[in-house]
Amino acid sequence: MTIILETRSLSYSYGDETAALKDVSISLQEGKKVALVGPNGAGKSTLMLMFNGILRPSSGEVLFHGRTLRYDSASLREVRRKVGMVFQNSDDQLFAPTVYQDVAFGPVNLGFPEDKVKKYAGYALQYVGLSGYERRPPHHLSGGEKKRVSIAGILAMEPEVLILDEPTSNLDPASSEEIMDMLDELNCGGKTMIISTHDVDLAYRWADEVILMEDGGVLHRGTGQEVFGDAELIKRARLKLPIVVDLYKELVGRGLLNGSKPPRNVLEFTDLLVSGNRGTTSQEVLLGKIYICNVDGPDLEGIKGILEKVHASYTGAMGTNAKIMAEQARIPLDFTYGVIDKCILKALTGKNSLIMTSGGMVDHSVKRIRVYCEESGANIEVIKLAQPAESSMNSDMQKVLSQKESTTLIEVAQ
């Protein structure tokens, strides 16, 4: 694993009295999901502003790709392009009078020619699912939409690292989950993600690495299980335990559960409970299947055709493209976030489910389910639905479809 961002004995003080950061040395690996957690005033935002050179450390240094960050304007431009930051308050970030102008701001200032600016801005808006919003003014957008535009504005500069300060604050639960799902999708595309949050449940299930901060220093860092396993430390940092961990500890304390470390999410928790009870219930449940449909290839009618053939009790969509597609095809969605886990849970109860997704997320899902199967010993059948080579389609349609090469009708993955 290569280290993408690193800080060495970083210190910073606002004014001359209060030290906001004290001797922070951390290294972040490329392609990881990192969560900075800590109470108000712990220095999370300050640290984030150091990563792309908005604040200059009083002492110590920041390294990006192993090179010390310099503060001349050329170096700053370079690092700010590669390390994009989304502010907590969208109104701070969206300063242009229209959505398009705001998203195009970065590319324009990077000196891209006009058609390239258009292409990048268009691509970024499409990615966040807001194509067609170009001429809207920001004050006509909802909170979730504003956040999406903010993210699009950063994506248009093609960053390697995305930093989001409290990405889910002030958003309703559904919007938050959609934003987090989008961050997963971006991470799946290889981008390193850093978020700061007070939401311990979110940090616990989402992050690969949790950095616990308190009073300008790093208290602890590691996986969610390591950091949140230490109740004393969490209390000291004025946080609380994630519900899953809390419940696990209570149950273990009563001897109802035994496990070496707390489960990460509802799926793992369920497994832990079920495996504990397996001795008493001997009969095996017939496992359900999970269908994965790639929405990139076929058009709307094609998708409908494929889905009619599948008998799934539950349908979920992952990623913006798939969600837009589902909405257009009027497919009711049962799951819009945490889709893979929810489908595995349904499969374990014997129900079939369908995941609509696109691009690299298809293989990601297959891999995720296989890893789960290997770990748990359950044998869930994964069926990749590709594009059907139907004879009933007219020739025009076939011409369009044949551009995307895909010949297999159904590829059985398990």
Binding site: I54, R80, F95, A96, Q101, F105, M157
Partner: protein, 260 residues
Amino acid sequence: MHDLLDDYAHSNALRDTSPRLKLLLGLGAILLCVSSATPIAPLFIAFTMSLITVRLAKIPGRFYSTLLLIPFSFSLLSAVVVAFMHGGGDQLFAFNIFGISLGIREEGANLALLLIARTFGGMCSLFFIALTTPMIEIFSVLKFLGLPVFLVELSMLMYRYIFVFVDQAAMIHNAQVMRLGDAGVKNSLNSFAMLCSVLFLRSWEQGERLIVAMDARCYDGKLDLMEQAERAKPRAILAVAVYLVAATAIAVLTRGVLLL
């Protein structure tokens, strides 16, 4: 939702017609109103502009008429004063108050009528622009007309933050009212002063955050070319030309006509 003119500008039925054409129509009509010698052309413009705004742009008539009450009340007040102050011509009407004779003469009455007509025609044209053309597109026309880029960009930023501050002002006001900050004149004045000072400080802070936000995205002195606005359709151009010519013709032909 719809409580600002700007909201209508973004959602009216003429939203997608060429902003240059809409500006040409509106500004042309205003110029005609103020240069017309008699009230007939301005009244014609007021009537037709209202029709265009309500019928073509589909602005709710109720909202539009309450909007028109503002200039109407102003112009009525000043027209009354003008009518009494200007002499000349035959006495039309007079009365005695505490031994002072107040009267309206022909010239004064005509001038007052002209004043009302001009204000009305002009305001109807201005409302037409305000209700059908979003500010952003007016900016793009200004840029096209050769206004210095930095002025246009500065106005765009100001425009964007008007809405942020309107929200903040409303929130501060609510917070004050909740704790009876509007009880009595003295309290109201005090609250208002506080609101102003807090808003000033907040805008200052917002300015600093704006610089950070722009720097974080590699600000290099460029705020973007505008998206290309809709081109005008030949039929629309023709219609505007015919309208302006007709209005000019009315203004010229009726220049000698007096209503009273």
